[in-house]
């Protein structure tokens, strides 16, 4: 096996294997780096940018950047935290997020990340207010992409774990969104048992299982109990 090496993350020495991402190495050492599009069990994609860190002075995404021997990596600095706050705010403002009436509230990673980063009130950015039709065609599943943060977790889970390709990106730029393989969800071979539909897959509240709404009382929801990142890894998928 190839030689392990170490690098520094906010002054702490972290051990890594060749090819391992900064994120994976930090996870293994129990050091949490904030993230939204990356989740255990799926190939990293590097799109939300919330995991940005500085490696030897250059901003990189921790989830896709391989660690390097002797690298000096900064994560929880005021500059990086500022970037993360801006990015999370952008995601809030890109979609329609009304947490008090949202089914995912309390187990939503975007909401939890906002709390972690100290974003508690509406921010300086304008709202883009998308108007996208909700797809409730399927007997068991509702897809509401008005809250989508384009993390691609449903896409990767369906393709790489379920072997189905129910979801895929369509459009580009600010018009980019998640499409389904057919006229609507009912038209696809999606099933409630798919990994893509698992409540842990979508970090926000886009993929909803019919007949299972608001099932955990306020106060007992995942992020009521402990803030995101408490287990050193974010949520498992």
């Amino acid at each position: 096996m190839a030689e392990k090496f170490t690098f520094s993350l906010d002054g702490q020495e972290i051990t890594a294997e060749p090819g391992q991402s900064i994120m994976k190495a930090a996870d293994a050492a129990g050091v949490y780096i904030p993230r939204l599009c990356d989740t255990e069990g799926l190939k990293p994609q590097g799109s939300c940018r919330v995991c940005v860190v500085k490696m030897n002075g250059r901003t990189v995404a921790a989830c896709t950047q391989p660690a390097r021997a002797d690298a000096i990596v900064e994560s929880e600095t005021p500059e990086i935290m500022g970037y993360r706050r801006d990015l999370v705010r952008m995601l809030f403002h890109e979609g329609n997020h009304l947490c008090p009436i949202c089914e995912a509230s309390g187990r939503c990673e975007l909401q939890a990340m906002a709390y972690r980063l100290g974003i508690t009130q509406s921010t300086k950015y304008p709202y883009l207010q998308p108007v996208r039709p909700v797809d409730a065609s399927h007997p068991d599943i509702v897809l509401d992409t008005n809250r989508c943060i384009l993390c691609g977790r449903c896409i990767r889970a369906s393709r790489d774990i379920d072997g189905k390709n129910v979801f895929e990106y369509v459009g580009r730029g600010v018009h980019k969104k998640v499409g389904v393989n057919g006229d609507s969800l009912a038209d696809t071979d999606v099933s409630i048992d798919d990994r893509a539909i698992n409540l842990e897959t979508c970090p926000v509240g886009c993929i909803i299982q019919k007949g299972r709404g608001f099932f955990t009382p306020i106060g007992e929801r995942q992020f009521d109990l402990a803030p995101i990142g408490s287990n050193g890894k974010g949520r498992k998928a």
Partner: protein, 615 residues
């Protein structure tokens, strides 16, 4: 007997299947398949997506992902004749709006519309590489330039009377544009020929000399010459070649980036027209130097009018034994042309590779770099048209000769595309290190008040900075130099560039997808006089976040127009900002805030509406 819809559909499917088969039902050739389907049916509608997906073994939603990514594809039918009028900033200043009105009036449709009889579609498009002869448009593949209302009227009437784009009576171009294989009214506008590229070059001299030396020496010659990539990023070409050669692999690729999408750049157009052999010679040398057998020229869709000519040059070189034989040596290498489909981001080298692989033109994560793992996972050199041309000249005349021009960090000459408010727009071949002022003198731009160096993603400089020099040490550029006189509105230009980036962002990462929209909205508010000095901090902070956290060069540079104008044109901003004395936000305008509720309630208010006098 009228054809039944069923058999019509079955026939369409058959035609689509035949197209797929011609590309070996190869998933990686999806871009080519879609280009042909779009050309044939004027759209790729969902039933055809389904059919393609079945045929090449993918999913309909993946085909939809492609169709919805590229501007030249549509899921509902476009007209038989599609008129794409450039509405980039240079053309706007040259009178796009008037031209647009003429087309709309005569064809009876607005922009973004298709005529009900299915004959015409009008669309706007960003820079089509004709900024030196603006306003310009594409009529299907045909380019029309130097549009005046009179010429536009003549063209529109001709089309309406049933002339095809190829039958329009247009003036002649110059140089090789007169070649019947090109047959275009485009003018080269070569204003200054330097020694390296635009003076007469002997055919294949560099290639023959290269072949007499071992590949590693060829690479070393390029490294010694200090040739930096001329497409914008300025990465040392020789080092890229070495990386590709040193990566063990079964296959390697050489790709020429002829996507030339940076607004205001058109020098590759001139090289493709006048120096196609030199460019292919350079690619062949690169292939020899890294032991590649396969090459691709990625040609932007807007340059489709050059396709037939380039194909002919490739074929002639095959006939000469310089390409496409089984032998080792030069002939062991062959090149295909990959047409683009309207996406600026596909000029970014890893997005370009995605596009060649039949994927959405999204950049890839790095590392690995294309030189290690590029097209289909094989080591791939992606180089700009001009870079390959220079490489061929270096192998002919040697590294020292090349280094005798330019600066320490930027060796050689550079083709500069000059457009905008000057008397002599066009292509200038000048040694690196030339000052902006010298260039403006050559282009006769006495009224220049601001110059955008490096295209939309570059820097806007003011008059006191005209002594800055074009080179790696000071102002790097892929070649675009846009000149603006004092009568131009700087913030209109900035807002346009942001629109461009919003439109062209691939949407993969948050800061570029969303952040550019926010930048543009705030610039829009400033232009309306609704902002205060603190808004500049907002723009600087947001711009920094976008530049620092974006995933590729597009987002790294898209805030540049904002940041460089805040730095270099502070008075332009100051004139529009309101100092906030009453503690209220200047950005709050009660009338516009009320506009939506008025609309929804379908009535107006006595209290807030100064012009309202009661029903």
């Amino acid at each position: 007997m009228p054809e039944s819809p069923l058999s019509k559909h079955a026939k369409a499917e058959q035609a689509v299947m035949a197209i797929c088969e011609r590309f070996g039902n190869d998933r990686t050739r999806l871009l080519d398949i879609l280009l042909e389907v779009q050309a044939r049916f004027r759209c790729v509608e969902p039933s055809l997506m389904e059919c393609i997906a079945r045929q090449i073994g993918t999913y309909r939603v993946e085909v939809e992902g492609m169709v919805s990514f590229y501007a030249f594809f549509s899921d509902s039918p476009r007209g038989q004749v599609v008129i794409r009028l450039c509405d980039d900033i240079i053309d706007r200043h040259a009178g796009t709006e008037e031209i647009a009105q003429v087309f709309s009036r005569i064809l009876g449709i607005g922009f973004g519309e298709t005529s009900p009889d299915g004959r015409f579609t009008l669309e706007y498009t960003p820079c089509i590489g004709m900024s030196d002869q603006a306003p310009a448009a594409l009529i299907n593949e045909r380019v029309v330039t130097c549009l005046t209302p009179a010429r536009a009227e003549e063209i529109a009437l001709g089309l309406k009377q049933g002339l095809g784009p190829g039958e329009l009576d247009l003036p002649e171009g110059d140089g090789n544009n007169l070649n019947p294989l090109i047959g275009s009214m485009v003018r080269n506008n070569i204003r200054l020929r330097g020694e390296v590229l635009l003076s007469d070059v002997p055919a294949d001299a560099g290639l023959h000399k290269a072949l007499r030396r071992p590949p590693d020496q060829v690479r070393e010659e390029v490294e010694r010459a200090g040739l930096l990539g001329l497409g914008g990023a300025g990465f040392p070409a020789g080092r890229k070649w070495r990386m590709a050669a040193d990566t063990p692999a079964e296959r390697r690729f050489v790709i020429c980036n002829a996507d030339e999408g940076e607004p205001g750049t058109f020098k590759d157009r001139v090289l493709l027209t006048e120096r196609a052999d030199l460019m292919i010679e350079g690619m062949t040398i690169a292939a020899y130097a890294v032991k590649a057998r396969e090459g691709i020229i990625y040609l932007r869709a807007e340059y489709a009018y050059l396709r037939r000519y380039l194909d002919t040059v490739l074929q002639r070189r095959r006939d000469q034994g310089l390409l496409g034989t089984d032998a080792d040596g030069p002939g062991g290498f062959d090149i295909r042309i990959q047409m683009g489909a309207g996406a600026y981001i596909c000029g970014e080298e890893s997005a370009l590779i995605s596009s060649c692989e039949g994927l959405r033109g999204e950049p890839k994560n790095r590392p690995p770099f294309p030189a290690e793992s590029g097209y289909l996972g094989y080591p791939t050199i992606v180089g700009n048209v001009e870079t390959f041309c220079c490489a061929a000249r270096i192998l002919d005349r040697g590294a020292a000769w090349f280094r005798s021009w330019g600066t320490k960090a930027s060796a050689g000459t550079k083709l500069l595309s000059v457009s905008g408010d000057c008397e002599r727009p066009g292509v200038y071949e000048l040694p690196f290190g030339i000052s902006v002022r010298e260039l403006l003198d050559l282009a006769v731009a006495p009224d220049a008040a601001a110059v955008q160096v490096g295209g939309a993603s570059g820097q806007m400089i003011n008059m006191s900075q005209f002594d800055r020099r074009i080179c790696q040490e000071d102002l790097p550029t892929g070649g675009s130099v846009m000149v603006f006189s004092a009568k131009r509105n700087i913030l209109e230009i900035v807002e346009y560039f942001l629109d461009f980036f919003i439109e062209e962002s691939c949407g993969y990462c948050t800061p570029c997808r969303v952040g550019n929209v926010f930048l543009k909205r705030r610039i829009g508010k400033i232009r309306q006089g609704l902002c205060q000095p603190e808004d500049l901090d907002y723009l600087r902070e947001l711009g920094k976040t976008v530049a620092e956290t974006s995933r590729c060069g597009l987002g790294h540079t898209s805030p540049n127009p904002v940041l460089s104008t805040i730095a270099n044109f502070p008075l332009v901003y100051a004139a529009l900002l309101k100092i906030n004395r009453d503690g209220r936000e200047a950005s709050f305008n009660i009338q516009s805030a009320l506009e939506e509720s008025r609309y929804l309630a379908k009535r107006r208010s006595m209290i807030y509406d100064p012009t309202y006098e009661g029903d």
